[in-house]
Symmetry: C2
Subunit: 390 residues, 2 copies
């Protein structure tokens, strides 16, 4: 096992009816900005439950945060927070609203252009840690990103076609309320996207090379197996409480720091995927379902030991030679994505060979010239991954 540090202070309120804990969770904060997305919370009853909990507090609303939250939109909220002297932001929605909220919280007291938060993130060569952020909490209505219990956020910039991430301990939510019943009314596509995103979060912390960390491996396999079992149940019956609850909790644990503690990570699929979304507007999960299988195929020698473990423990593939078992496990993974209505090739989205150069240019511009657990996914290898994904 590798050395690690781990500290996750977010308080989780999990289960049916937990929005009733909101007033308690907000404590002494008095001047709240409610952030949300397209406004589905006003149709499905969640908004009313939230407002009922805000008695005795002042609140302002900021709706319209996009599926890939943009710097341009979020800076409008930053202005409101500054003008109205907001002391707490409450994100009501999925991972995009929450990622946007994290950026707002970090930008409010940032001296300089807040876009630097992305440019000087932990992923850049010039990392500058953040000094502080406004406190914020979350009512999660779409499981997938894991943002509800981590300190990461992904922000897009329309004018430049960038999509970049930042991770900083100051942007852990103070609390996250996870009520599985709020996910009953999600469109099928969003339910599926969330599962694919979280499934691939696990893979990216699991399919690298062995470091003798058997508990982390089993936690990863436990989440993957649970997704595989529970996903068909919610497709069959969107009101299956237990399946919704299990998927919601798995998605949270998929990216709250416990899986990655002490093991190598390979975020290649996410990094290439972000560029594809920024360039072509594909959903985040759509890009991942296309890129991941190619990453696994191209790096199958380096990832061999873990791929064989994945084949055996997650897909019960134990027959045939190693190459056969690995290929079968990747095909099973693709079939799982297909069952969640994801395409697995860029050409199915009408995207052609031009994508290779376009994405490579952006990866180069963002400094992503060495990816993967061995830092050996150069731009040439990324180009190969993209060509294989066409």
């Amino acid at each position: 096992m590798k050395n690690f540090t781990l500290c996750n202070p977010t308080k989780i309120y999990f289960g049916k009816g937990q929005i009733a804990s909101l007033s308690e969770a907000l404590g002494n904060y008095k001047n709240i900005l409610i952030t949300y997305g397209k406004g589905s919370i006003k149709q499905n009853g969640i908004y009313d439950q939230v407002i009922a909990q805000l008695k005795g507090r002042i609140f302002t609303e900021f709706g319209g945060i996009e599926a890939n939250p943009t710097y341009e939109t979020l800076m409008q909220a930053v202005e409101i927070v500054r003008t109205k002297k907001i002391d707490f932001i409450l994100s009501v929605g999925g991972g995009s609203v929450l990622d946007g909220t994290k950026f707002i919280a970090a930008a409010v007291n940032y001296a300089g252009d807040p876009w630097e938060i992305l440019q000087n993130s932990v992923f850049s060569a010039n990392h500058i840690p953040l000094k502080n952020a406004l406190p914020f909490g979350c009512i999660l209505t779409l499981p997938g990103t894991g943002s509800e219990m981590n300190s990461g956020s992904v922000i897009s910039r329309k004018t430049t076609g960038d999509k970049l991430a930042f991770v900083d301990p100051v942007v852990y939510p103070k609390f996250s309320i996870l009520d599985p019943t709020t996910t009953y009314s999600l469109p099928l596509n969003q339910t599926c996207n969330g599962i694919v995103d979280a499934f691939i979060h696990v893979i990216e912390q699991y399919l690298t090379y062995p470091v003798n960390a058997p508990l982390q491996d089993r936690l990863a396999e436990g989440i993957l197996l649970t997704f595989i079992e529970e996903a068909p149940k919610v497709l069959q019956n969107p009101h299956d409480y237990d399946a919704r609850a299990n998927i919601m909790w798995c998605a949270t644990l998929a990216l709250n720091g416990y899986l990655s503690a002490g093991v190598p990570e390979d975020w290649t699929s996410h990094i290439i995927g972000h560029e594809l979304t920024a360039k072509y507007g594909l959903d985040h999960a759509q890009t991942l379902a296309v890129v991941l299988p190619s990453v696994l195929r191209i790096k199958k020698q380096q990832k061999k030991a873990k791929l064989l473990q994945y084949a055996s423990r997650v897909w019960q593939i134990n027959d045939g030679n190693d190459d056969h078992k690995i290929e079968k496990a990747i095909i099973k993974t693709e079939e799982f994505f297909r069952s969640l209505h994801k395409k697995i090739k860029l050409s199915e989205y009408g995207i052609g060979t031009d994508a290779v150069e376009a994405v490579i240019t952006k990866l180069h511009q963002h400094g992503f010239t060495k990816l993967g657990e061995h830092q050996d996914i150069t731009l040439e290898v990324s180009a190969e991954i993209l060509r294989m994904s066409l």
Copy 2:
């Protein structure tokens, strides 16, 4: 899955050499009380590493905290903290030193007799939450209790023969430093005790009844399987870094709130075990290894579904009828305890039938008249458990 709340703010520094992070972890605290046990830290080099990190701070030492830390000893430390205006306590040792430190931290500003902290704990009918505690951190040298990443503590009182627990969010450690190399020099008996204690922590959050929480089940099974695999390695080679690291991390996750999130729990073995230690001075793990198998046998009908799952997934027992599989799994569990040099009957410790009445009297006195996930382990059932454990 049941509703739950979860918040674990302790920062973990895990791995070889992490004591070098102590100065950073202590931040601005200046006036430190170092708590420790019998003084083995002065023989094995840990004390020197700690002192090297305390440059520029004032520190006082308080050694001699017992294996079952006592109110009488700890109140001496409370007096020192008050007199010297200590602002941070650093526990260096195992779970007993840390449990004692939690009590000191909670007692310092407690208005009234601090023994009330135990009497009015969350386990009592008159629960009074604590208002605050002095901040404290930990350098863990003996994995087992899980105290390094939870808010629980068990304290004994010599004059009355009591051993009681309290759990309160104010006593999460600010940080815990877990360096597996500090466990190389542990006596065999302490290594084994720690593994048995943590293994049974998992069982008590796992072997109840199914609530459709497959991820929690798999995390529990993952920890149990890892203990079963790694324990023989440290017995064979006490300097096996990876095995020591895996055991240390498993013991932490066995009781940091993640396993119990959303599932029923049955702490009968611990509660009866505490009374046995208080009365007869047996090691904590010795009592658990004796009591647990009887709890499982007596409650095998109520625990049937989970016992069969345990038999299959943890011990690969899939043949025979249900009763046979369950009994075989319990025997496997006893054999595992035996492999860790634990006896499995009270008579092996020279304890006879008198124990039944003595322990039942204490359980009654402490209000433990309904134990288990169904609250149906009355004093009569506890007596039956004790008789079966003779």
